[in-house]
């Protein structure tokens, strides 16, 4: 590896450290956001004073604020993300149990999104100002405008209730066969993809328009390169950079979107767990899960930055 590359990777790593620290403090502050006494809120309005006192001690709320923060950070450093109040389980194991569902959903939807989104966006850019462009961009616009939970309910009515093609809810682990697993998440994954495909197609189109108007494309055409070579060779390289950048955003959108989609399809994933935890006022579980997701995104972004640096030599010489 060149020195420039190593330097950039090191800088990105160093920038991630304070971000992780700030995320930890933000997640900690979530509890103090609650109006009133968190112990009362968590124990419930009808709880006895003894039960409230118990919650207070259990969560360390009887200690000074700075000490609470220090204990919280120390626990995190030891890999202890706290325990759920309702699940009788540590946050880490609760998240781990539900990870396959959310991961299946995110992975499948992104594997629909990337080829379709990049193809549609490139097609629109290449056929700029034709009816194909207008049509593709209208579809993409609809994708980013229609609320996912609404189209999800319509999807269930059409494909599960009316046509009976796929089950309307529930998750089948991949260990019980690829077919049943696929059937259980194909509809939610496709619906999750609608927004992302719209987003990626729009992004690809503007990036491709940018590339196609560059001098080097004109030069390539002028020197008699075939159209396929011109567009394929120059555009593919740029598309790769674009896809890497987009994948980070898409993963974030997929996890965020899965919070809602899992709710509609009753899929036992992380998103559904967070919503249930919020409803049940299980704040340690909310806190811990947000933290794990936050850390995950920092890591994804770090990876995206590094891959980006590898794919685009221009970044290294900045």
């Amino acid at each position: 590896m060149e020195a420039g590359l190593i330097r950039i990777v090191a800088i990105k790593f160093l920038q991630a450290v304070p971000v992780i620290l700030i995320i930890s403090v933000l997640a900690f502050l979530l509890l103090s956001l609650l109006p009133g006494d968190p112990a009362v809120i968590i124990a419930g309005e009808q709880a006895s004073p003894a039960a409230i006192e118990n919650v207070r001690r259990q969560l360390g709320l009887d200690r000074p604020f700075v000490e609470q923060l220090a204990i919280w950070l120390l626990n995190l450093a030891r890999g202890n993300f706290g325990s759920s109040l309702i699940l009788n389980q540590s946050v880490l194991s609760a998240v781990g149990e539900r990870l396959p569902v959310t991961l299946s959903l995110a992975a499948l939807s992104i594997s629909f999104t990337i080829p379709v989104g990049v193809f549609l966006g490139s097609l629109a850019a290449y056929c700029r100002r034709s009816w194909i462009d207008t049509f593709v961009m209208t579809v993409a616009l609809l994708g980013v405008s229609i609320p996912a939970f609404w189209i999800a309910i319509l999807g269930v009515i059409l494909f599960s209730v009316q046509l009976g093609w796929v089950p309307s809810s529930g998750f089948v682990p991949i260990s019980e066969g690829i077919g049943p697993w696929f059937a259980s998440i194909v509809l939610p994954a496709l619906i999750l993809s609608l927004f992302q495909i719209g987003f990626l197609a729009r992004m690809t189109r503007s990036a491709m328009l940018d590339v196609l108007s560059q001098d080097y494309i004109r030069t390539a055409r002028a020197k008699g390169m075939s159209e396929w070579q011109t567009v394929g060779k120059h555009a593919l390289r740029n598309a790769l950079i674009l896809i890497i950048t987009a994948t980070g955003i898409l993963l974030s959108a997929a996890i965020g979107g899965s919070v809602i989609i899992e709710q509609v399809f009753a899929l036992p994933g992380i998103g559904r767990m967070v919503v249930q935890a919020i409803m049940a006022r299980d704040y340690p579980l909310v806190q811990g899960t947000m933290l794990i997701l936050g850390f995950t995104f920092v890591m994804i972004n770090l990876l995206v930055d590094i891959l980006y640096t590898l794919a685009d030599p221009r970044v290294r010489h900045d």
Binding site: L26, P147, L209, G256, I260, I278
Partner: protein, 291 residues
Amino acid sequence: MTDVAFTAAAAAPRRSGVLRRLSRHPAFVVGFSIILLLALCAVLAPLISPIDPSAMKVRFRFRPPSSAFWFGTDQFGRDIFTRVLYGARISLLAGFAVCVISGLCSAAIGVIAAQFRKLDGAIMRLMDALMSFPAILLALGIAAALGPRVSSVIIALTVAYIPAGVRIVRAAALTVREMDYVQAAQISGASSLRIVARHILPNCFSPLLVHLTFIFAYAMLAEAALSFLGVGIQPPVASWGNIIAEGRDYATEAWWVMLFPGIAISLAALSLNLLGDALGDLLDPRLKGGA
């Protein structure tokens, strides 16, 4: 960009030029008309439909769309057309409030980050941290903590959307700072407040405006999602999201309850996205000749 220095002198003709070009831009015209129509529906709701949006008439439960009930009725016999009209008030208000408040906060924080270089690192790492949580999840957590009220939803979504706006303003402000004419103003003794007000803020306006149009759309979709999940606007007050949530249980028999508010959200988001695209086309010089 060099002509920006003459903006003051040429402001009037240039601005009308932008307006004229906007009025000829099909996406802008379509988007603007739809959103204007929806806003009018929201404001004039009591005039358009004299019915009380919460009035329950059990006699008329689950009536399909007809000339008497344009969008049908729900499980309590409430008129869905009226509820969608009143829902527009809440949904558009929440979206607009998030867009304006997060816009003001982003402009302030972004300019501070660009202007006071010592604070830049700290501010941007905080924004990175906030952006590490998926926006909907961050908003969900904040809204749940603050309690189910319109104001909680607005605060939650504002916090969730500030970081992206800050990045845009900061990037624009940093570019302008390096321009020759700003440096010249600095050398000729202009105060930094004057430079921010006269040169930096006006140049951040276009990218921020384009961004905020999309934020309006996102915020409206997110508000609907939060209300759908039960942490947003609470029934019996109608919002597009909670009408869908209430209609969901009867979706197979009474599809109309959830169909029409969904179309309303989609139309509103679509029109705002069209507006954003059109503004981006005309205001962002980098994209000139793009679409």
